[in-house]
């Protein structure tokens, strides 16, 4: 390993680490005005995104502990972009917050954890970075300082994830016991479908299920999403899930290929249960954050379905879908966060007649929901289509048919919100909101993404070249 390799291969991680220290210095030192600090951070996050796009090389560091290649680099840039957008979308809320440096300190630590997570080449590294990615978010969940629900969310997240980590560790140690190695490149040679290894695999998979909030490991999701500040909710539901989907792909396709029949069955069960239960609960929700939480659970069901194909197509379609999901879901969360920051309203009925007072926000939310529901020609349609096609590649049509029926159910509750905004009348609609430019800019980027990623075929083709 040359020193040059180290700097280039780990440039994203190093950049984040430097930012974390910078924030520490600012906090310990004289401090800065919230507004200017926020601008600085947003610029740095944008630079971080640019850094993730350039000078990408393949390579391995620290004896297979850290792996990077063009696919991993692309995944990291999706996460960076998402974090940047979140920082823009929650400008109004953050400006008023008294602990701004800590907020980003924690968020960067978590992002750093995710970077290491998708680069990990070893079960130990995987475990450590998973913890690094999770624990700061639990602290972040508590950032609505005056609300009790926020503390409750933090508490539930940390307890649940501790529980899940325990089972994960159990699984890892079982694997170590059975194979004598924890290295991703050596594991496949030792893996077989013995009962012990299947059990260890289920333990491992439960940790992924937990972070992705797949049924039946999803219980924490709704409470945590509802209680956390929206910036954190969107971070959890988009960035955290995205990173977890990426590493799950690597682990399944590269490491557990010998168990592919086992995990096909597992994914099928999880996927069907997740999309169905997610839909069933999403239908009943009246709080818009809770609604988005359950609808994002249903979306995970589709991601799992795409994963099950065990082919390049599955890989490509999941990465493509996550990219679209980042834009669509952040646009939805963005509008919700703007409205919540200005009016404090989070009930779906509060959105009645929104179109009359806030046409831009209504259209943005409507397009985002169309994309989440998979209505053409938005990008979400193409994302879902490729996931369905990937899921169909094994020839289990009833699997696809069930998924497609779930798509129709989900169409209902997404369209319902559009109806509430556009067609219902209200005597006291939410007043006209003067949104700040940063948030509008971020919403604009999301909209462009929702429209263009589907229609411009370059994106999907580019992702295919990364396989």
């Amino acid at each position: 390993m040359e020193i040059n390799d180290f700097f280039i291969l780990m440039k994203g991680e190093l950049f984040l680490a430097v930012m974390i220290f910078l924030l520490l210095f600012i906090k310990v030192g004289k401090g800065m005005q919230n507004a200017s600090l926020l601008t600085l951070i947003q610029v740095l996050l944008f630079v971080n995104f640019l850094v993730s796009l350039t000078f990408n090389r393949e390579g391995v560091l620290f004896g297979d502990m850290f792996i990077t290649n063009s696919l991993v680099a692309f995944q990291k840039s999706i996460l960076s972009l998402g974090t940047f957008l979140i920082s823009l979308l929650s400008t109004d809320w953050l400006k008023k917050h008294s602990h701004l440096p800590e907020f980003f300190l924690l968020m960067f630590s978590s992002l750093l954890g995710m970077f290491f997570l998708i680069s990990s080449g070893n079960l130990l590294m995987f475990y450590l970075s998973l913890e690094l990615a999770t624990i700061p978010v639990a602290a972040l969940a508590n950032f609505d300082l005056e609300k009790r629900k926020s503390s409750e969310a933090a508490m539930k997240l940390i307890l649940s994830s501790a529980f899940s980590s325990g089972i994960l560790l159990f699984g890892i140690s079982l694997f170590y016991g059975a194979t004598g190695t924890i290295n991703f490149s050596q594991l496949p040679g030792h893996i077989n479908a013995s009962a012990m290894q299947i059990l260890a695999f289920v333990f491992l998979a439960s940790a992924f299920g937990f972070k992705l909030s797949a049924v039946p490991f999803h219980f924490w999701t709704a409470d945590v999403y509802e209680g956390s500040p929206i910036a954190v909710t969107s971070f959890l539901s988009v960035i955290s899930k995205g990173s977890m989907a990426f590493i799950f792909l690597t682990v399944l396709y590269k490491v557990f290929q010998p168990l592919s029949e086992v995990w096909y069955a597992l994914l099928m069960i999880l996927s069907l249960a997740t999309m169905f239960i997610g839909n069933l609960f999403a239908l009943r929700q009246q709080n818009i954050k809770r609604f988005l939480a359950f609808s994002s659970i249903a979306q995970v069901g589709f991601i799992l379905m795409g994963m099950s194909s065990n082919a390049d197509m599955g890989l490509a379609s999941v990465v493509y879908f996550v990219l679209i999901y980042v834009f669509s879901n952040l646009a939805a969360f963005g509008v919700v966060s703007v409205i919540s920051a200005h009016t404090g309203k989070e009930h779906i009925n509060d959105y009645k007649g929104l179109y009359q007072t806030n046409p831009f926000l209504s259209w943005t939310l409507a397009l985002a929901l169309f994309s989440l529901a998979g209505i053409p020609p938005t990008a979400g349609f193409f994302g879902k289509l490729f996931l369905l096609a990937a899921g169909a590649s094994k020839g289990h049509y009833w699997f696809v048919i069930f998924a497609a029926l779930n798509l129709v159910i989900s169409l209902y509750y997404y369209l319902n919100i559009v109806r509430v905004m556009f067609m219902d009348k209200s005597r006291h609609p939410i007043q006209s909101i003067k949104n700040n430019r940063a948030a509008n800019f971020a919403l604009g980027i999301c909209l462009a993404g929702i429209v263009l990623i589907g229609l411009v075929s370059w994106f999907y083709e580019y992702i295919q070249t990364l396989m």
């Binding site: 289920v202 439960s206 219980f219 168990l259 209505i375 020609p377 169909a392 029926l405 109806r419």
Partner: protein
């Protein structure tokens, strides 16, 4: 060879007008948006004429057979292993015919709306929606790729959703647009799965390649598609039947027709465009597009199409006899005529003189577009005059609306199949094809065509005769912009039958002469005249005979009046079954969908559902417990139940 730029301009001019009117309609084009939209469409229409002239008379034929040309093909998305989605333009007789029909009817509607929609607050929005719809429809008919057709198919759905719901402060209009959108979406789901199945087995999405691979007897793709089966039906049949399901939804075939009558809540010119000439025939067009595969490799699906078509034709005609809202009568009549087109395809063979049904179906599509658009626009003119859709508010209007009266009469004669009007020729072709192929279908079709004459003339007499002419103090007939389309369409409806259609459109591209036998025509024409005569007896003067008959046959009449209770059956099923997605707006479903599920499997499910509710208790220790159960359950399942 065709000029690609001109071809691209045909759909893109309406797109440009949609974008410009959508963005600047309220500022720059405040007063001229109607004119701007009409002009751009007029250019598009001229270009379509130019193209069709070139295709039919210059470059379309090779060795006397019309070719399927693909002058433009852009690879849009490399899917995987050689499967790519292209964006292309296909030129063959049916697509060329369709662009003529779409641009012409759309132009008529544009002109007509200049007066009809005048003073509407969102006038420019209306025109931008019209342009969007025209663009999507043109894109649909020109698609060279089954996936491309799906995208435009959805766009057509979205834009018709916007148009039907144009009067958005009318709750019934909103509900209707929602119903239309949802029923067709449900059908489109089948379409999408059908596309996936077809493309999976043929390894392509391109129409020409797909047809070639799935029709040549020796091809490996065809062999696997026929031999693989699911629930005892071959994959090829599944794929085609599912694609047909999409077509049936858009074309309002039984039993997916329930959205069409309600969709009449939209502005009347919109009904003329969408529900007469363009969108509703998209399903027919789709079946025609895949016709070689259906005819050569999947005759079973073709039989299904025949069955659905003939049932739709008959049921819709029966319902049409009883409706009192004039637009609904026309809606059911459209359904019935589309049923004709469908079963004509169903009874047709492929190639040479076997393909009479195909040619007749396309011919009927063409003539129907003319006379049905005319009927809707005429109805619009009547509604414009009396401000009501109900027959009871009409009667004796022939003096007040002379031009509407004459043109409406021509359209009624055409649809009733009275020679020498256009509908006569196309319907004869269909009946002849049915007679040769399947006598049962023929007799049903014959009865339906008699009913057609009856209900159309019931409508005609009820509007223009019936009562003595009353003194309406309303305005005049609606001005030049409304009368011009009526006259042009009436000329078309009167003489279009003399077009030697088989010289242009046939199943395999060869030249065909539609056979014609005077003796054969006697039965349908007599039956048609009988229908007209009985309508005249009953409705020419207000005489109560119709009421006497209907009270005499009250139970039958009631059954038919309530549209065979199809809506009610739907509601019944949807209350009981999970997918209660038709017939009521979303609010209703939100409340009932879970209850519907619960009722379905009784107390067991209820208990489970209650349990699920309890499970989300908010207590983190419970969550941990369920987590553990989940892990153990999965472990047991994977280790002991599903053995590897």
């Amino acid at each position: 060879m065709p000029n690609v730029i001109i071809l691209v301009l045909i759909p893109f001019l309406p797109l440009a007008s949609f974008l410009i009117l959508g963005l600047f309609g309220k500022s720059i084009f405040r007063n001229t948006s109607g004119l701007a939209g009409t002009l751009s469409l007029f250019v598009s229409f001229l270009l379509s004429i130019y193209t069709s002239f070139g295709y039919f008379f210059e470059y379309g034929k090779a060795n006397g057979i019309y070719q399927k040309l693909v002058p433009l093909k852009l690879s849009w998305l490399e899917f995987s292993n050689g499967l790519s989605i292209d964006m292309g333009i296909i030129l063959d007789p049916i697509s060329v015919m369709m662009i003529m029909v779409v641009t012409f009817i759309s132009l008529m509607v544009h002109i007509y709306s200049l007066t009809y929609m005048k003073g509407e607050e969102r006038f420019s929005t209306y025109y931008s929606y019209l342009s969007l719809f025209t663009f999507s429809m043109l894109g649909l008919v020109l698609s060279s790729n089954i996936f491309q057709i799906y995208i435009f198919w959805e766009l057509v759905g979205v834009s018709s959703f916007l148009l039907i719901g144009f009067y958005y402060n009318k709750p019934s209009a909103v509900a209707a647009s929602k119903k239309a959108f949802i029923v067709t979406r449900f059908a489109d789901l089948g379409f999408l799965i059908g596309i996936l199945v077809l493309s999976f087995y043929s390894g392509t999405l391109d129409f020409n390649t797909l047809i070639q691979r799935l029709t040549s007897p020796g091809s490996g793709e065809l062999k696997t598609a026929v031999t693989t089966s699911f629930l005892g039906i071959s994959a090829l049949n599944w794929g085609l039947a599912l694609v047909f399901m999409g077509g049936a939804g858009k074309s309002a075939l039984f039993p997916l027709h329930i959205w069409l009558p309600d969709a009449m809540e939209g502005p009347t010119p919109v009904s003329a465009l969408i529900h007469a000439a363009t969108m509703v025939v998209a399903g027919v067009y789709l079946v025609a597009r895949l016709f070689p595969v259906l005819a050569l490799s999947a005759p079973e699906v073709l039989e299904l199409i025949t069955l659905v078509g003939v049932i739709t034709a008959l049921i819709a005609a029966l319902i049409a006899c009883t409706q009192t809202d004039i637009k609904r009568v026309l809606a059911y009549s459209t359904m019935s005529q589309i049923g004709f087109m469908m079963f004509a395809l169903g009874v047709s063979g492929y190639g040479g003189s076997n393909g009479i049904g195909f040619t007749a179906s396309m011919f009927h599509l063409f003539t129907h577009a003319l006379f049905k658009a005319l009927l809707f626009l005429g109805a619009g003119s009547v509604i414009h005059y009396v401000h009501s859709n109900e027959m009871k508010d009409m009667g004796g209007l022939k003096k007040h609306l002379p031009i509407t009266h004459i043109t409406f009469l021509i359209a009624c004669l055409a649809i009733a199949g009275v020679p020498p009007f256009s509908g006569f020729f196309s319907k004869e072709g269909i009946l002849l094809a049915a007679y040769e192929h399947n006598p049962a279908v023929f007799w049903l079709a014959l009865a339906t065509s008699g009913l057609t004459a009856y209900y159309m003339f019931r409508l005609y007499f009820r509007i223009f005769w019936y009562k003595a002419s009353q003194q309406h103090k309303h305005h005049g007939e609606g001005g030049f912009a409304m009368m011009l389309p009526l006259i042009l369409l009436a000329v078309g409806a009167a003489v279009a039958g003399f077009i030697p259609f088989g010289r242009f459109v046939s199943s395999d591209g060869s030249l065909l002469t539609l056979p014609f036998h005077w003796l054969f025509s006697i039965a349908p024409v007599t039956l048609g005249l009988l229908g007209i005569f009985s309508a005249m007896v009953l409705f020419k003067k207000e005489n109560g005979k119709a009421d006497q008959i209907s009270s005499f046959m009250s139970r039958v009449y009631k059954l038919v009046y309530h549209k065979f209770y199809v809506d009610e059956i739907y509601l019944f099923i949807t209350r009981k079954v999970l997918f209660s997605m038709v017939g009521r707006p979303a609010a209703w479903i939100d409340r009932n969908i879970i209850d519907g599920l619960v009722n379905l499997s009784g107390a067991t499910t209820k208990a489970v559902s209650e349990r699920i509710k309890v499970i989300q208790s908010g207590k983190v220790q419970h969550y941990g417990l369920y987590f553990l159960f989940g892990v153990i359950g999965l472990g047991v399942l994977l280790i002991y139940v599903i053995k590897f």
